[in-house]
């Protein structure tokens, strides 16, 4: 065993703001009636950096009939362009209803259109429909600002202005602004803000049965972004084209010959976009109505919104709503035991033959196995304290056989406090000095001492997995079980999408929904299309209700630090002040969330144990799937670091396909489903393993680099690799885009086609097989990512570019900008690499990228870039080329694992990886790590502290408990000399002000050295 490496670890905290307002009761659909009118809009912009409005089109639709269609154009559109539009409207009729509609195609200026927009969107309260409204709406604005309150962190758009007698334009404060807060690339919250002296009529809440104005009410608008609704319904991101295809829109999107120049065909293209959007709106709303979840469509932000609405509809109240006195201390323990899915590479950078397996609906399956629906619908969930010996007794019974008994899983909803001593447990630690972020891994964990106070809480399935994998009993110092009692009153049966009835009182929802999904395949009464839709809908609902909503923590943007009460691994809570505190989501209940993901990890551990018992191994795992090293006949293959020997060389033992089938068959005993609906095992040999046409099993290969970076491929008779490609040799692409997805297509930056990633993967695979590679042709190009101006913080460094320009020419919210990534040693001299990120106005011509000026997002300073050369200069940043990025990608270390000798996995490590030994150096409490994931992926956020909130516990805060007392007893004169800091600065620090993290590190070293000297 290698010596455990001390690492700082992070634990999730359950926190609540001290001044939390009581949760607002959801109104449901009682007062919601979908407006019978809708205004559909789409704007076309220039292709330059400002992406200013050129023109756009709209349709006003009532009861499904288009009554008015028009074009609008920028107020300052050049006369020549306006003439094209004028000619167009005189020669084309509107696509309106023949009987009631206005046959004339109107042409309005932006201001004239906004007068219509105000009437339709605010006074008539129509649905405002668009595809990607956050992009379109700022094109119509005349000024922008920062939003406040609920929309803090977002933009506030002023749309309406007026001219005074001097000819000066002013914002019309009697008209609302529009607030837009970006959540991620698919979702945003959009609303009208309150106006100055609103009319009484506008203060009447929507759907009011009395017409009584409410002074506190401000109409927020009915903004329906179809991109968001399509995501909520399908759980996948869509473009207008893909959504039109998926929902069978008759008049789908056309292709534009050229963007940015107003021509007759471009105007027709734009009108068609509006027509397609309108048709898509009806299709999506029709589909949405079939979900019948009782949620206003404008509030369907994601599948989770649908899942929560569905639970509300069934009368399932959130546990913490009806049990507000549930002991918070146990919520803290459970939250500290929360980790995401198990994912890592196990054989690195060596192609191996595999059978690709995955578990059937992993989270609903483990929920059903553990009987968690009883907890969701219980009248009371109580905490039952367990003796440590009882927990140990239970764990002693854990082995492969008992875990293949479904009965064992019923006992798993429990938590134990373990003083780890090399047990294999999930750990969130900073494994990589380079990335300096927290990663979750299943490693051998060691506590500092064996004191009970150094114990950590884990969900029982995680500890069972440790017992299964190590055969050792962990030291348990405390334990509790959660127990459901009774059943909620008022549970109601529902019909899912009008076709599948589920009674929450008598059925296990998780099980019923998966069973019904499978039964659909045999339902002859439904058309193939309807079956497909229903299947997807049930899949969305099953996933939406089975895990995420129980883990939901909502990050609140706050300008100042807020006092919060935190529940961690200790029995007593602590208080601290943090920026951006988190609030538990509506159905948040950490005990369920933690036990669900832990059970999924246990399932993978059981699979791991089954194959290691046969001498096998695996190439990688990802939450619910595993690539098992296997060939048709099994045997031995030479492999560096392998435990067996073949021809005197290390080897591994691939299982035979028959052995994998037999393992899969064992998992049949854990199927919680009705065998008539879902016969067989819950471990599936994936379709990828079979020829699409003949359905004969084929030999798959896997090349894994690190977690979520892997590729599955075939090898032809002469050994050449062929990636699994959708529509070519497989149903799905099986090469990961993780880590590359944010980059523009280097061959055609305006194209969304991602085939360049497949080409890059093919080269990686070929290199690993020792085959010749084809030059990609774009290796030397600057690697450019496209990011969106999604918040005022992103826009801030661009203000210098906007200064002095007319609003229309400025870079506006939700514009695209480009970003590049600085190479190692490529930072300009004197900048802080942790706070340096280059962005530039949107430019799709690769020749311009190295010529234009780039702006540091943090300092606002300007630099030029170069994609070659060894290092950066004073004003030149050496940035990464696509070749650099791909090389880094290929060598990305799996830092959370060790190589076969036990050393941390490095860039050069290949072959079998194993678990690291980690000692708890310090514990930091953090909030959820998944904030702003997209910005992290595109590397526009370099400072990890912006991504998650740290909650300093004074009792575990090394600075307060160890360093500061030492600094206080040192002579100030010495401190000044050693630290180089000013007297005033050090005095402030000694009187309690916490210094910057870098200074903290420096002072820590000084304090430790001085204390050693003192003791010597």
């Amino acid at each position: 065993m290698s010596k455990p490496l001390p690492l700082p670890i992070a634990i999730r905290i359950y926190s609540q703001p001290d001044s939390e307002e009581p949760r607002r009761k959801r109104k449901g659909l009682a007062h919601w009636r979908r407006p019978n009118t809708m205004l559909v809009i789409d704007a076309e912009t220039g292709v330059d950096e400002a992406q200013a409005l050129k023109f756009g089109a709209y349709r006003f639709i009532r009861d499904g009939r288009c009554l008015e269609e028009g074009l609008f154009h920028a107020d300052d559109l050049p006369a020549a362009d306006r003439a094209v539009l004028e000619t167009y409207v005189t020669s084309h009729a509107a696509g309106t209803d023949r009987r009631e509609g206005d046959p004339e195609l109107l042409l309005l200026s932006r201001r004239e259109f906004l007068a219509r927009f105000y009437l339709a969107a605010y006074k008539a309260r129509s649905l405002v429909v668009g595809f990607n409204l956050p992009f379109d709406l700022p094109r119509l604005a005349c000024r922008i600002g920062k939003a406040r309150g609920r929309y803090a962190g977002g933009f506030s758009l002023a749309l309406w202005d007026y001219q005074d007698s001097d000819g000066t334009w002013h914002i019309n404060k009697h008209r609302p602004r529009i607030a837009i807060k970006h959540i991620d690339s698919k979702r945003a919250i959009i609303a009208f803000t309150k106006t100055l002296n609103p009319a009484e009529e506008d203060q009447i809440p929507h759907g009011s049965p009395t017409g009584e104005p409410d002074k506190a009410h401000g109409f927020q608008g009915h903004f329906l972004d179809l991109r968001q609704l399509a995501f909520a319904i399908t759980d996948r991101g869509h473009t207008l084209r893909s959504a039109c295809d998926a929902f069978g829109v008759e008049h789908g999107k056309m292709t534009a010959e050229r963007h940015g120049e107003i021509t007759e065909s471009y105007i027709t293209y734009n009108r068609r976009d509006v027509e397609a959007t309108a048709e898509l709106a009806f299709k999506l709303l029709d589909e949405y109505d079939r979900f019948d979840v009782g949620l206003q469509e404008t509030q369907a932000y994601s599948p989770a919104s649908l899942g929560k609405a569905l639970l509300r509809k069934m009368g399932v109240a959130p546990v913490l709503d009806w049990q507000p006195k549930f002991p918070k201390q146990y919520l803290g323990y459970a939250e500290s035991a929360f980790f995401g899915g198990r994912t890592s590479a196990h054989i690195r950078k060596v192609p191996v033959p595999i059978v690709y397996t995955d578990f059937l609906s992993m989270y609903p399956t483990v929920n059903a196995l553990m009987g968690l629906w009883r907890y969701v619908t219980a009248e009371e969930v109580s905490v039952v304290h367990m003796d440590a010996s009882d927990a140990s007794d239970f764990l002693r019974t854990i082995n492969v056989e008992t875990l293949f008994s479904a009965q064992t899983w019923k006992s798993l909803p429990a938590f134990v406090r373990v003083v780890p001593d090399g047990d294999v447990l999930p750990t969130r630690a900073k494994y990589s000095l380079e990335s300096n972020d927290y990663q979750v891994a299943l490693n051998h964990l060691h506590a500092v001492t064996d004191n009970p106070e150094d114990g950590l809480w884990f969900a029982l399935p995680d500890v069972a997995a440790s017992v299964l994998l190590t055969g050792r009993m962990p030291k348990i110092v405390d334990a509790f079980r959660i127990v459901p009692k009774g059943m909620l009153a008022g549970l109601r049966a529902i019909r899912l999408r009008g076709a599948v009835t589920v009674d929450p009182g008598s059925q296990d929802f998780f099980r019923a929904i998966i069973e019904e999904r499978k039964r659909l395949a045999f339902n002859a009464e439904l058309s193939a299309e309807e079956r497909d839709r229903l299947d997807k809908a049930l899949k969305v609902l099953a996933n939406a209700t089975s895990y995420g909503i129980f883990a939901e923590m909502r990050r609140e943007e706050s300008a100042e630090k807020v006092a919060v009460t935190c529940h961690g691994i200790d029995p007593t809570p602590f208080e601290c002040r943090v920026l951006n505190p988190e609030k538990p989501g509506e159905y948040c209940f950490p005990p369920l969330a933690s036990v669900i993901t832990a059970a999924a990890r246990l399932m993978l551990a059981l699979l791991e144990r089954c194959l290691t018992d046969l001498g096998g191994t695996y190439a990688m795992e990802d939450t619910d799937s595993m690539a098992i090293v296997a060939t048709q006949r099994g045997g031995l293959i030479e492999f560096p670091g392998g435990p067996y020997r073949r021809n005197g060389k290390p080897a591994i033992r691939p299982l035979s396909w028959a052995q994998v089938d037999a393992i899969a068959e064992r998992f049949a005993s854990l199927s919680p489903y009705d065998r008539t609906a879902i016969p067989g095992s819950i471990l599936k040999i994936e379709d990828d393993n079979f020829e699409p046409e003949t359905l004969r099993q084929r030999q798959l290969w896997c090349l894994a680099i690190s977690a979520k970076r892997y590729c599955l491929f075939l090898r032809n008779p002469i050994g050449e690799p062929e990636l699994l490609r959708k529509g070519v040799n497989n149903k799905e692409d099986r090469y990961s885009e993780h880590g590359l997805g944010h980059l523009l297509n280097p061959s055609n930056p305006e194209s969304d086609v991602r085939s360049w990633i497949a080409k890059a993967w093919l080269n990686i695979v070929r290199r690993s097989l020792g085959l010749s590679i084809q030059p990609l042709g774009f290796e030397r190009r600057v690697a450019i990512g496209r990011i969106t101006v999604s918040s005022p913080n992103v826009l801030k460094p661009l203000e210098a570019l906007n200064a002095g320009k007319a609003f229309a020419r400025q870079i506006k919210p939700f514009n695209f900008i480009v970003s590049c990534h600085v190479a190692k040693l490529g930072h300009p001299i004197g900048v802080d690499p942790q706070h340096f990120h280059l962005i530039a106005p949107y430019e799709t011509d690769p020749r311009q990228w190295e010529k234009c000026l780039w702006i540091d997002q943090y300092s606002g300073k300007r630099y030029t870039i170069a994609a070659s050369g060894p290092y950066g200069l004073r004003t030149v940043a050496r940035v990464k080329s696509y070749g650099d990025v791909l090389r880094e990608y290929e060598f990305h270390p799996e830092a959370k694992c060790a190589d076969s000798s036990g050393s941390p996995c490095s860039k050069q490590t290949i072959g079998l990886l194993c678990r690291r030994h980690v000692a708890v150096e310090s514990i930091t409490y953090i909030g959820k790590e998944s904030n702003r994931l997209e910005e992290v992926a595109e590397q526009s956020l370099l400072d990890a502290s912006v991504v998650y909130t740290e909650y300093p516990d004074p009792r575990r805060d090394e600075w307060l408990s160890e360093i500061l007392p030492k600094l206080k007893i040192m002579k100030l004169r010495d401190l000044i000399k050693l630290s180089g800091m000013s007297r005033a600065q050090l005095q402030r620090i000694r009187s309690g002000r916490r210094p910057h993290r870098r200074n903290q590190e420096g002072l820590k070293n000084i304090a430790i050295k001085s204390s050693k000297r003192y003791h010597e």
Partner: protein, 162 residues
Amino acid sequence: MALRRKDQIRTAARQAGAQRRVGEDAACPCGEKRPEALIAGRTPTVCYECDAKRRSKSTLEEHHVAGRANDPTAIDVPINDHRAELSVAQYEWPPLTLQNPEGSPLLAIAARIRGFVNTLLYLIGKLLEPIPGDLEAYDAQLRERLGPQWWLSVRNDEPPNE
């Protein structure tokens, strides 16, 4: 603006506002549902006509056909129809024509024509529009009772055979 073309967005805004003021699904016990004919802020909901009856007032109201600013000519119409149809129709006019603040004779003529057309359409709707449907219904009844050529028996001035 063409005589019979509506500004559909303005109309929708006005109708939505009117509906909001009286409340969703509001209706007078007499069956009147047109939001413009209902009195805002009344609980229970009541229409102008029922309210007038309750207060023993006339259920007719003067309608200035071309708008007060353009011509004094007024006709008596049922109060609910005045509020929910004829006045509403005038809101669809160009505001300058309806208000005619400077007293333009051309706008006044335009208003008279618009008002005449609106009133005519209203009267057609009230007096003539139900008739074809009624005639067809009577024809169907007579056909059933007297046969497909029922008028032959009616022309003979003989009572129909029972």
